[in-house]
Amino acid sequence: MSLYQQVFAWLGILQGFALFGVLLFRSHYRRMPLFTLYVGVLRVFSVVYVLDPTWETYMLHQVVSAALRFGVALELTYCIFGGFPAAASSARRVLLVILVATAVIALATLPPDATSTRMYSAAIPRMASAAIWMLTALAGLVLWYRLPLAPLPRAVLMGYAPYLLVFTIGISLLFLPGPPNLRFWAGYVDPLAFFVLTNYWLRVAWRTAPESTRPFDPRGPAGVGLRLPQEAS
């Protein structure tokens, strides 16, 4: 890693830990525990990678990140659709279809004689693509059902998908044979995009009261069901 990359990496790590602290301090972890875990664990693995920048630590970082990413997508599903059983069942079906389709495409397109490097280089962008499709599908369902979004889940949904697009394109460029200049810049774009994303999340998490991240309850704050006109009389 170059000096600039190291400085940038440490700045990102510091900002990530700041976000983790804000999520704990503002009690967001109560409503979004997996997201809080994702932010914290990712930063720990980033420290490990910066201190020991090897292929193994990089892959470990990516695998843990991908697993937690799916966890965050599932948590978002619960957060957004928790109070709406009909929409939640549609969301579950859509996510299942995306996961199955991703697995089928990944297995079908992988050559039998692929090396482990080739396999990982194909797997990482595909896992990120699956997460993009999942987040896009969730956002589409939010629009379709006209669901309300709390500020933090909205920020995660709005920020994470575009970042993953940058990440997927960047990682594809890193592994593709091409001009070294392109790969050099691709290595800078991803941390920069994640820095901007973390900054956005940090601002939203700091400004948002913890209760506003509560899943929207259609029965209202007191949990009282709607009385029908004929019942009211």
């Binding site: 709406f84 059983p85 009909a86 929409a87 069942s89 495409i105 962008p125 693509s129 993009i132 499709w133 987040l135 896009t136 956002a139 589409g140 939010v142 629009l143 379709w144 059902y145 006209r146 669901l147 309300p148 979004l149 909205r154 949904l157 709005m158 998908a161 575009p162 697009l165 997927t168 394109i169 594809s172 929207f216 259609p218 029965r219 209202g220 949990g223 009282v224 069901g225 709607l226 009385r227 029908l228 006109p229 009211a232």
Partner: protein, 226 residues
């Protein structure tokens, strides 16, 4: 695959970014909390008052026509049309909102299609026949509900257009036979407006009932012994 993801993702996020969260939340709170009850009462009161006002104008117009004062009758028809002209877009907005919220309800009570024999205007009656046929092709209750909202909206539009056409024709027509036909049509439109309004309010009640029922199931699940 990445290109598809980029385009669809950015498009969806752009739409989410542009929408007003406060407005969305307010709509849900109005419909789903006990305030919904008040909203229903207010909507019903407003709709009934407006359609009643138009109906009164048409009724008086028919009386004046019987008495032979056609000019005054046409003036009253015009007053009634202005009320309808104001009422119709509000009704279309209400039906569109109802169709949107129906997507959220998994357990809408069985939706009854419109009955063609309840309508006197041939074109609206034909729409009701079409509704009856399409009703058999759509499967889920919420899809049937949305179809009904669509047909009701189209019927309101159609009836308003025919009303305007009849009033304009009355102002120009010379023969008694033509005038009688137009007056009969206005009478039919008046009756159809009443039926369409009743059907729309019934549908609003169905939607609110379905939402309340879903909430009760949630409550039952919560209090059920584990």
């Amino acid at each position: 695959m990445i290109a598809g993801a980029v385009v669809s993702c950015l498009l969806v996020l752009l739409l989410i970014g542009r929408r007003n969260e406060r407005l969305v939340r307010r709509d849900w709170e109005m419909l789903l909390t006990p305030r919904g009850e008040k909203v229903y009462g207010a909507i019903e009161g407003k709709v009934r008052a407006e359609i009643g006002m138009a109906d009164l104008s048409f009724e008086h117009a028919l009386v004046y026509r019987e008495l032979g004062t056609t000019e005054e009758a046409i003036r009253l028809l015009d007053v009634g049309y202005r009320v309808i002209e104001k009422f119709s877009p509000d009704m279309l907005r209400l039906l569109a909102a109802m169709a949107t919220f129906s997507r959220m309800v998994s357990a809408i009570a069985p939706v009854q299609p419109l009955r063609p024999k309840n309508f006197r205007l041939v074109q609206v009656s034909s729409l009701a026949y079409l509704h009856g046929m399409l009703h058999q092709f759509v499967v889920s209750a919420s899809e049937r509900y949305r179809l009904k909202m669509y047909i009701l909206g189209r019927s309101f539009g159609l009836a308003t257009r025919f009303l305007l056409k009849s009033i304009q024709s009355l102002g120009m027509t010379a023969s008694e036979a033509d005038a009688k036909r137009e007056w009969d049509q206005i009478e039919a439109i008046r009756s159809d407006f009443q039926t369409l309004t009743d059907e729309s309010l019934d549908s609003l009640r169905v939607l609110l009932t379905a939402m309340a029922r879903e909430d009760r199931q949630d409550l039952l699940r919560e209090i059920a012994p584990r």
